[in-house]
Symmetry: C2
């Protein structure tokens, strides 16, 4: 198994050789499901999630015992354009809050029994303002991808990746616009809470960033380098490492989805080991999930980022596998099967 990569070319090689799920384990999981003490189909989405998970783990009776949430943090030069309701120093302050256990995602990780890791990526060195040029050099992109790759616990059996980075909904909107077209207005949302004139200004910044970096269009990894940020690239690196390790992954909200979309653009099918944890209240998230072909598990109007919605969805996945692998069959329980 590949231990890492030293260049974008090596990363692209990995992307082209991603493993597939274990079809036999998935079939065996569905056969088991049909024997459990419930009417067929009555656990709805939980049944589908269990079969999908068992396929990726190669185990028809898998359970989830070691979920991991990783929060990546990065700073964005585009904050100089006045795109956020919060000042850029909040990124580092929130990293300290994650480390002290005071943020929402800490409480969520504890509730669902997930290990939580925080990785701050050169916060003292924001990416280039994307209205002025590419966010990162190729070397910076590779460094961030590798940081994500290395942050994954190889013993984890479910992964959530989240982010913190003042300015990063601007980056995510620019990525979506570059990959999927449409208008800057339709991809630009409130982020931490901008509205009215500030929101219109943010959309103009997004449009300008895509125009300035227009050479990157139609190339997923170039879009990530030119319009992304270190935390977005690290999420992408972690997603690919999870795939190589056959660790199923729960996507979080809009920013995580934008990072994922770069991978899917670079290698169709690269997200087959992922599910969408939730539908965020960030305005363009429904359209982004539609582009990715992902049906969200939860829809609770959350829009916090930091892996919060994805981590909450761990509870649903755990429950799905607990039912699938813990229930008695009709024969075991002596129940008539209709």
């Amino acid at each position: 198994m590949r231990q890492g990569f030293r260049s974008l070319a090596e990363f692209s090689d990995i992307l082209q050789g991603l493993p597939a799920p274990d079809a036999a384990a998935r079939v065996a999981a569905s056969e088991r499901d049909a024997q459990l003490t419930k009417p067929p189909g009555s656990l709805g989405r939980l049944e589908e999630l269990a079969a999908w998970y068992c396929g990726w783990r190669g185990d028809p009776r898998a359970e989830i015992a070691a979920p991991q949430t990783i929060v990546f943090a990065g700073n964005h030069g585009v904050t100089a354009q006045g795109v956020s309701a919060f000042p850029p120093e909040v990124t580092a302050q929130m990293v300290a809050n994650f480390q002290a256990g005071g943020a929402a995602v800490n409480q969520l990780a504890r509730t669902v029994g997930a290990r939580m890791d925080v990785l701050a990526l050169r916060l003292e060195q924001p990416t280039t303002d994307i209205t002025q040029g590419p966010a990162m050099s190729e070397a910076e992109l590779v460094e961030a991808l590798l940081a994500g790759w290395q942050a994954v616990d190889s013993k984890a059996d479910l992964l959530v990746v989240g982010e913190m980075g003042i300015g990063n909904t601007t980056s995510a909107a620019a990525i979506a616009l570059a990959l999927f077209g449409g208008t800057a207005q339709e991809w630009t949302g409130r982020g931490t809470g901008v509205d009215g004139d500030a929101l219109r200004h943010k959309a103009e910044v997004v449009a300008r960033a895509v125009e300035v970096n227009k050479q990157c269009k139609n190339n997923g990894m170039e879009v990530l380098r030119c319009l992304g940020g270190r935390e977005l690239a690290a999420m992408a690196g972690a997603m690919v490492r999870a795939r190589v390790l056959r660790i199923p992954l729960i996507l979080d909200g809009f920013i995580c989805g934008a990072a994922a979309a770069c991978l899917e653009a670079a290698q169709p099918g690269a997200l087959d080991h992922t599910v969408a944890g939730h539908l965020s209240a960030e305005v363009a998230h429904p359209k982004l999930l539609e582009k990715l072909g992902k049906e969200p598990i939860l829809s609770l109007g959350m829009r916090l980022g930091e892996g919060s919605g994805g981590t909450l969805a761990v509870a649903i996945l755990k429950a799905a596998l607990a039912c699938h692998s813990g229930m008695a069959s009709f024969a075991e329980a002596g129940v008539s099967d209709g």
Copy 2:
């Protein structure tokens, strides 16, 4: 505090004197929420659930430590009309499965950390076939209500009530038709899995049951007695006991909702201490929740009953309160608040 009741009149007295939430605790909870390290509103529905829960518990920083799921089981004379895909002996077989820990709800209760209790209600004595007359006498109704009342653990801090009873979606559809009008077809669903001609026949049985018992219309407790069943009445009794103890309650699916609707008809506001745990795939559940004014927390296409969807939603409530009560404030964490 009332220790119980000996008659329907005494139960109705309790219904008329239900306690309200603690408005001051709810306000204090909202004030706390505004200081937490997140943009205002960014936890969406979790914030609203936390404030609601704190109000009912009278504690602005409440957590959930002792949830309880109770599954009530009863048998229905209307199974003689051929309304279910499963034979009536499955009710008792599934009770044994619950007791042995092999059902879906056992796995879900374990996953969310809920105590689980099972109460079988005179399974050897099915209710009267509702196409022939009232399901229960007044004495039988009171006995079942009281069984539910007594099953609630007074130390619980969150309650889920669920049911098992072959034939009880027929009963629930008849209740909905009697309370809300419309046609038998629109309230009658697949239950454990009837379809085509069998589903049309089931709707005819529902229509006949409501016609035979038409004197009960517009009287919530009479609808419950005439068209319900022991497990539905027990769920209603447990709901009222939870209210008296100020234990917030998560409603499960269509059958649980039908039992709840009888209480709301008898005493508007009787369900203020409840939330809808999930939207079930049973066809009339969306309309029933609309009538009750409840927005479901989850929507995963589940249609199993036995408290499964409600128990899964415990994970969301726990997470909401963990965030609310465990997060640091901007001041505590030294984070700039925008």
